[in-house]
Amino acid sequence: MTILDRNASAEEIRNVVEAWLDAHWDAEKRCAKGAGRYDEKSWLTQVFEAGFCVPSWPIEYYGLGLSQKQSAIIEKAFSRRNAEGSARDRFHLGAITIFKVGSEPLKRTMLPIMLTGPICCLLYSEPNAGSDLAGVRTKAVPDGDDFIITGQKIWTSNAQEAEYGMLLTRTDWDVPKHRGITFFLFPMKQDGVEVKPINQITGESEFNEVFITGARVSATNIIGSLNQGWTSFQTAIAYERLIMGQGVTERRGKSKPDSEPQLIRLARRQGKYDDPVIRQKIAQALAHRELNGLNMERAKQEIMTNGSSSLMSLGKLAMSRIQHGEAAIATDLLGQEALLDGDDSADAANVNFDAAKAYMNSIGGGTDQIQKNIIAERVLNLPKEPDMDRNVAFRDIKSSSL
């Protein structure tokens, strides 16, 4: 482990990390093909042992006990050299969840494994549950020291590559729905687990269906405790949203802020930029985007001052109007060119992709409708709807399949 602690200055940290990377990192090897290529696992093990994977975590949990600010220096140094492995305390969902809510033995056994390699996916959505995340019907039945799992998950990112999945299951059918759920760290590479990519309307396949038939997971792999999985899962999904949010922010940070907006470019190209009707539509669309940016800046300010901001919850909803709206205007601007697609029609392909992809925001990660409920109830304190299923044993709740 590197000799760095909370008293280290930024300069010291930078020097230590740069020296370490000079000694260990070989950028060329990473790009090499065949035998010359570096072994990812052994590289990650080196990073792990140096404590750079999770520098903000305590030393007993494989970190360096540094502050977020100090950790960022390490992350930056890695990122400049395009070296993997740092900032897993910010981005490795499996590791973070186990660190936050896993039992002591699970942390001991699994954190070293998580941090040195495997992708970990999050298996929660089910075809029959939809927005009702607690409506899981994937069964976990005890069998000796194991549980036997049968069920179907959907909308799972990275399920193809993942060695582990954090899996939401039902272990008690005779209590209300939130109280019979168990959350497992589930090994994906076993018989009885079939992963099938979903063909999305964008042409992408970011997500998968996962069919599980009689697969096994050890009882020691329960995250949290038996039938209390809903709480542990809340932690996991909160981090998933945070990570996605960070990803979006960081990607956005990369696009030039003052580059000409796509709508203006398309309008000019189509010779429609002087049309007052088009101009009103473009102006309003640009305004919606800019207003959302201003709201998010206020949110950041509020978070810095008060630790939280109710404005954060508006961004996703606002983004639906922005994305669907912009795509619609762009479609109209292109006119019949929008009928085309493919490499020869790049503008059309982009616009058509954006039009479909907008549903990723308005449906994915909680539909706009769910998002509005959340805003109304949590931000505006409007009263909840009467729950039809809160005090009903799960097996008695009405469902589509009955």
Partner: protein
């Protein structure tokens, strides 16, 4: 103007709807659009059998002499099932153009074949009767004696893949001309990649291709062809949006979440009620356009514009909201909702944008 009685019309429609319900399932649709032809030949032939391909063709040319209202009924059913058949180009636009401007000989040659399902005609080029005008048209026509030859390229030609003839418009200095070009060695075709997989668009390359020129294209006649085509399109959209709306309502009634059918959630209900207003308004507009055309009403142009933007916009809204209301399941290619949505988007530029038709509608209102 229709020669079909009200009872016969109803029977025709019921028969077609029943047939489609039984035969035109989603599997056939998906298999048709995966093929080069793009539509199911058996369904097309059955439509010929039922007299539908000659619906707008006069009885003495082998058709059944229907009017705009009859075309609308057929188009509505086509829309409901998203049938990707070349009906609009062949049986509406081309049949109408040939009936109005073709020589007696051409009429007697081609119209019966259209009605019999023996002939597919694609449309393209430039001019008011062309659904998708090629803005960068590089087509030229030259004549020697009675023969015409065409050279150049035309893009956005629909259904050219297996068309027997291409009906190509050429608008120069505001004057329309139209040519019928036989599919032949002198014409090669590139299929264009389209966003709606059910849409078939081609780029034609013509090299000294022999052509028949249609005579005396008067602006009024062309206007009639255009209006009838727009009314037909509007009816197709009205039918299509009703179908995806009903699919969505079925889903809302049967999909349970939080222990309740999702259709019992008030916000979803309100979305549904608002969409119903769109669907019914679109149906009314399409109907009014067809009736006004058949009645030779002075309001026909007004109602056609109204139908055009109302149905385009409503289909777009309804199909887009259908995806939203289905949630994740409709974000997949496996679900049918996106096919309706793509059809809606594919309809937007046909015969001019919604904004253009709104402007036109206001002009008609002033004139009234």
């Amino acid at each position: 103007m229709s020669q079909i009685s009200d009872e016969d019309r109803q029977a025709l429609r019921d028969g077609f709807a029943r047939y489609l319900e039984a035969e035109a399932d989603e599997k056939k649709l998906r298999s048709a659009i995966a093929n080069d032809r793009g539509y199911d030949e058996a369904i097309w032939q059955q439509m010929a059998e039922m007299g539908l391909l000659g619906i707008a063709i006069a009885e003495d040319s082998g058709g059944v002499g229907g009017g705009a209202i009859d075309v609308a009924l057929v188009m509505e059913e086509i829309g409901k099932k998203l049938l990707p058949v070349p009906f609009l180009s062949t049986c509406v636009v081309a049949a109408d153009m040939i009936s109005r401007f073709g020589s007696e000989a051409i009429q007697q040659d081609l119209l019966p074949k259209i009605a019999a399902g023996e002939l597919v005609i694609s449309t393209g080029g430039s001019g008011d009767f062309v659904p998708l005008s090629d803005h960068d048209l590089s087509l030229s026509a030259k004549s020697s004696a009675a023969d015409w030859t065409l050279n150049g390229q035309v893009s956005f030609v629909s259904h050219a893949g297996n068309a027997d003839y291409h009906l190509l418009g050429l608008q120069e200095d505001g004057v329309d001309s139209a040519y019928l070009v036989k599919a032949s060695d002198a014409v090669s075709k590139d299929r264009l990649i389209t966003n709606d997989p059910a849409q078939r668009l081609f780029k034609l390359h013509l090299s000294d291709a022999r052509a028949i020129k249609l005579e005396v294209l008067d602006a009024d006649g062309i206007g009639q062809v255009r209006m009838r085509a727009i009314a037909a399109l509007a009816a197709e959209q009205a039918g299509a949006m009703r179908a995806i709306f009903e699919i969505t309502m079925d889903y809302l009634r049967t999909r349970y979440q939080f222990g309740r059918p999702i259709g019992s959630f008030q916000a979803i209900k309100h979305m549904a009620a608002e969409l119903l207003v769109e669907v019914e308004s679109a149906t009314s507009a399409a109907l009014a356009a067809a009736k006004a055309l058949d009645a030779n009403s002075p309001d026909a142009a007004k109602f056609v514009s109204l139908a055009a933007f109302t149905c385009k916009d409503a289909f777009r809204t309804v199909s887009a909201q259908a995806i939203q209301m289905h949630g994740g399941i409709a974000y997949t290619q496996e679900h049918i909702a996106h096919l309706y949505w793509r059809r809606a988007r594919a309809g937007l530029p046909l015969f001019g944008s919604s904004d253009a038709h709104r402007e036109q509608y206001l002009k008609s209102r002033e004139a009234a």
